[in-house]
């Protein structure tokens, strides 16, 4: 599908649409770069500020002050944060790819690159859509478990 060059109808990309697309691509590149930098900074913050988090875990009380518990909790918290940062980081690359390809396509007047750039935007939208479905499913599951808990209490 993506490699097809044929136009179904004579909708050309005129100069106004072109300027809109350039603007969209530039802002998307900016947002993608911000997203990537912020995600990497958060990972660095977790790595270097991790020891602070680790030391604070001992203040949970005597019951949870064992070293093995602290290590486990620290590793769990780190994995949890890294997982969510990765979830946010992945679409930033799709966004960056869309922006770069769009700018190149318009500069080089390349139909193939234009198709690929819109494909990247499609993947970006699809990614967030699927993530939304996953989050809704988790909420629904929590609701079902809560209702079951209330029913069988």
């Amino acid at each position: 599908m993506d490699t097809e060059q044929s136009s179904l109808f004579t909708l050309g990309i005129d100069d106004i649409t072109q300027s809109h697309l350039i603007s969209i691509a530039k802002w998307n590149r900016f947002l993608a770069i911000i997203g990537i930098i912020m995600s990497l900074l958060t990972i660095l913050g977790l790595l270097f500020g991790g020891s602070y988090l680790f030391s604070n875990l001992s203040t949970f009380g005597n019951r949870y002050s064992s070293t093995s518990y602290n290590t486990g909790a620290f590793a769990g918290a780190m994995l949890f944060y890294v997982f969510f940062i990765a979830l946010y980081l992945i679409p930033c690359f799709f966004r960056l790819s869309f922006a770069n390809k769009m700018l190149k396509a318009i500069a080089a007047n390349d139909q193939q690159l234009l198709n690929e750039s819109f494909n990247q935007l499609k993947i970006f939208s699809k990614y967030w859509g699927i993530l939304t479905i996953v989050v809704i499913s988790i909420y629904a599951l929590i609701l079902i478990v809560l209702l079951l808990g209330i029913m069988f209490r």
Partner: protein, 145 residues
């Protein structure tokens, strides 16, 4: 240049066109954008309904935290939601106009949709800049204290 509806279109300065692949991508993008907007819209409506049904306890809870500033906080929250809805309206406008433009083969509708998407991303970019400025300000302030 005239499209199928007979309206005069701006001539294309470039050889690149809205190909079958781009149409497919646009259709998919619109589909997912609509889905996410319905989810967000549904969540906001649900939140407002819960707030209306349980307004007394929410008011008490807010009053215990903010005291005399309760109504300012609630008002600010409502304004933020309204601005957020207007912001999402741009995305809705994009999806709706592009979808209609594709169906009617109307390049002006597609162009209007793309213009809405441009404004949406410009506002997102400005939001991103404000976020970074706030973050830098916070870090600098933390360094001084």
């Amino acid at each position: 240049m005239e499209d199928l509806t007979g309206e005069t279109q701006a001539p294309s300065l470039f050889d690149i066109t809205i190909s079958e692949s781009v149409i497919y991508s646009f259709e998919q993008i619109c589909k997912w954008v609509f889905f996410q907007l319905y989810v967000v819209g549904g969540s906001i409506v649900l939140g407002v309904l819960i707030a209306l049904l349980d307004s007394d306890s929410i008011e008490r809870s807010l009053y215990s935290k903010f005291g005399e500033y309760t109504y300012y906080v609630a008002g600010t929250f409502v304004i933020v939601i309204i601005i957020y809805c207007a912001f999402l309206g741009l995305l809705f406008n994009f999806a709706l106009k592009v979808k209609k433009g594709m169906a009617k083969q109307d390049v002006q509708k597609v162009e209007q949709g793309v213009a809405s998407l441009k404004i949406y991303f410009i506002l997102s970019g400005i939001g991103g800049m404000l976020y970074i400025l706030t973050l830098v300000f916070g870090v600098v302030r933390l360094g001084y204290t």
